[in-house]
């Protein structure tokens, strides 16, 4: 069954149309890569699915597990199992990482009808997950993302994902700003979360990340439309030829 169905999605910001009729079906257990040049609408698609209200959906629908989520708040979508790993993780000075994460986890657990975790249970859970991302435990007690390096911020996103155990992971340019070692660590973290019940949509500009997170399907987004879809070899073809030939097609 399809976990995510994006149907003829049109999205505008301040009257400017950015997504011009996206159709996308992601089945449970699949990893889809969305590639495309800058400004093609890749990040917009990820943010709209997560519920960012900056954007206006003018037409179409987003179905998650058989239900339309357009009327859901970002927190409802998150509790239903959608997770967005941000391209630019936000600094929240004065709120500790660990408190933030515990509030998030307990909100989600409550929604699922599970007991909230107490401080001790929570700590043992995050110790287990933090090892996966090879993160310094000291970062947990610092303010959310404040003073983190680019790599630490990205690891923190995947760490949060590992703790919250979403059903749909949206990774928005998770590779940007990472050196090769950090990229491998982050990719390992992501791969550890792959499962038949979990889907992933990986938004990236470069093919590089897809060497480590191997997709089932690759889509190319240009000028707000998916102009080509294919297997993982499509990413290699794009790496070789660039995006220009597809953008020309899209402009027609």
């Amino acid at each position: 069954m399809a976990m995510l169905e994006v149907k003829n999605l049109h999205v505008s910001i301040e009257g400017k149309e950015i997504l011009k009729g996206i159709n996308l079906v992601v089945n449970a257990g699949e990893v889809h890569a969305i590639m495309g040049p800058n400004g093609s609408g890749k990040s917009t698609l990820a943010q709209v699915i997560a519920g960012r209200d900056l954007y206006e959906v003018t037409e179409g629908d987003i179905i998650f597990n058989g239900k339309s989520i357009l009327d859901m708040s970002p927190e409802e979508r998150s509790r239903e199992g959608i997770f967005l790993a941000f391209q630019y993780p936000v600094e929240v000075p004065g709120v500790s990482n660990i408190y933030f994460l515990r509030s998030a986890l307990n909100a989600i657990r409550k929604h699922r009808g599970q007991e909230e975790l107490d401080a001790m249970e929570f700590l043992s859970l995050i110790r287990e997950k933090i090892a996966l991302l090879e993160m310094n435990e000291e970062l947990l007690h610092r303010s959310v993302n404040e003073g983190f390096s680019g790599g630490e911020k990205k690891r923190n996103e995947i760490f949060q994902m590992a703790v919250l155990e979403p059903r749909l992971c949206l990774l928005d340019e998770t590779d940007s700003g990472l050196d090769i070692d950090a990229l491998k660590t982050v990719a390992n973290g992501v791969n550890a979360l792959r499962s038949p019940e979990r889907s992933m949509v990986v938004v990236t500009h470069y093919q590089r990340l897809l060497d480590y997170i191997v997709p089932d399907v690759v889509h190319v987004l240009a000028n707000g439309r998916i102009v080509k879809s294919g297997g993982k070899d499509l990413a290699l073809e794009l790496e070789e030829k660039g995006y220009a030939w597809l953008e020309e097609q899209a402009a027609v």
Binding site: D53, S78, V92, V95, F100, A104, H141, S143
Partner: protein, 442 residues
């Protein structure tokens, strides 16, 4: 002239000078001088630059009555915890102390009349000399009218381990008239002494009163004074306060002023770095809602070289509240190598709240480092979305961000029970269930 000044004679009988013949002649002179100054000037009108943004109109239209001379009752425990771990002295309606004189950890806390018996010389050189009656009409009024004063004397070299708490508690008036009180506090910290002072102004909920306190602080050579000034007056009260500290050589003064209460509240906080190598830290935090008004007027005066000051004032404004910050930094001629920094940050949580922020730097020396900055902002939308995208509901996300804004200052409150109480008061939140060990950022 303003409408207020025109109606002034009607209230003069209540606000004018009250002679207390038993007082020494220098004090009678001081009171007379203050009363004359006030009578000459009256209440400030909108044409007074220093009071331009402070909406006094409603206060001055009230009918006033003197506050009752009642023994101090224990403040309602739901507003105020039992104690912050030190000695607490309660002053009812600005009149009498709960205990006339007490010694604790080497510090003496006395009523003015008792202090006059033993230390008249010292008092005459300090009382009314730190906050001058001429400095502001309300301070003049307090000086002319205060009934009793609390005098705290910290002898040379005394290190007071536990905090000293002075609670000015207003029992107010249930009726239409507004009860007036003039609390007065004088702190003399002699050289090399150390103390933590918690000064709390509050009153019974749903009572009407006007509290007009003045606090004077002398910090002697190499002394260190930590001062918390917390205002939690009732929602229908008025609070116009003045506090000033004078710092001698190599002394250190750390003031944290917090305002949550009152319908209209203004505090004029002054710090004078009079001798070299002294340092001052002034932090201010307020959170207001409804139609509350809070005005922080601060003056940091660098009168000697090699002194440093840091000032951080933060405001959280909800609904139709109005916040005013006026921060003057004066660097006197010859105060070279001054290092003075000032920041004012305002978090506005509604469209209808108003902030006036006005930094004023007056620099008369050439080798100084002075910086200031002011911001007025809303909660960061991107940060809100980030938190919500992790399943945190919007109200909790807002509270967490608001908490974080205040926590930047509150986390520095070393006294844990005080800090917890201030946090609770600022959040008044049903969404957050804090687990201190987890919230704390290192």
């Amino acid at each position: 002239m303003t409408q207020v000044s025109a109606s002034f004679p009607a209230v003069q009988g209540l606000f004018g000078w009250r002679e207390k013949p038993e007082e020494p002649s220098w004090l009678l002179e001081l009171r007379k001088r203050a009363a004359e100054n006030f009578e000459k000037r009256g209440f400030p009108g909108n044409d007074d630059e220093e009071w331009r943004f402070t909406p006094l109109g409603e206060l001055l239209k009230q009918r006033f009555c003197p506050s009752q001379r009642k023994p101090a009752e224990s403040p309602s425990v739901d507003r105020l915890p039992g104690s912050f771990g030190g000695l607490r002295v309660v002053v009812g309606n600005g009149h009498e102390l709960s205990v006339p004189c007490v010694s604790h950890d080497g510090v003496r806390i006395c009523s003015l009349s008792l202090a006059l018996e033993s230390r008249a010389d010292l008092l005459s050189s300090q009382l009314g000399n730190i906050v001058l009656p001429e400095s502001n009409p309300f301070a003049a009024l307090n000086t002319a009218r205060f009934d009793d004063a609390v005098v705290i004397f910290v002898p040379e070299g005394t290190v007071v381990e536990k905090p000293i708490e002075i609670v000015f508690w207003n029992m107010g008036n249930q009726g239409e008239e507004v009860a007036v009180s003039h609390p007065r506090l004088l702190v003399i910290a002699e050289p090399k002494s150390r103390m933590c002072l918690i000064e709390i102004h509050g009153g019974e909920a749903a009572t009407r009163y006007f509290s007009n306190p003045v606090t004077e602080i002398h910090v002697g050579k190499e002394a260190k004074l930590e001062h918390y000034r917390v205002q939690i007056e009732s929602a229908s009260s008025y609070h116009i306060g003045a506090t000033r500290a004078r710092l001698e050589k190599a002394s250190n003064y750390d003031c944290f002023a917090v305002t949550y209460g009152g319908k209209l509240s203004r505090v004029d906080i002054g710090i004078s770095l009079c001798e070299e190598n002294s340092s001052a830290l002034l932090r201010g935090l307020y959170r207001i809602q409804g139609t509350q008004v809070n005005d922080f007027h601060t003056i940091i005066e660098h009168a000697a070289p090699h002194c440093e000051s840091l000032e951080v004032v933060k405001g959280i404004l909800e609904e139709r509240s109005h916040g005013i910050f006026n921060g003057r930094i004066i660097v006197r001629p010859g105060a070279q190598k001054t290092d003075s920094r000032q920041t004012n940050k305002n978090l506005v949580l509604s469209r209808d709240a108003v902030v006036n922020t006005n930094p004023q730097l007056e620099i008369y020396a050439d080798d100084v480092k002075c910086t200031h900055g002011a911001t007025v902002g809303h909660l960061d939308e991107t940060a809100l979305f980030y938190m919500r995208s992790r399943g945190i509901d919007i109200n909790t996300a807002r509270d967490l961000l608001t908490y974080a804004f205040a926590n930047d200052l509150l986390r520095n409150v070393a006294l844990l029970p005080l800090r917890e109480w201030l946090e609770r008061e600022i959040l008044e939140s049903k969404h957050l269930n804090f687990d201190r060990d987890l919230v704390e950022v290192s």
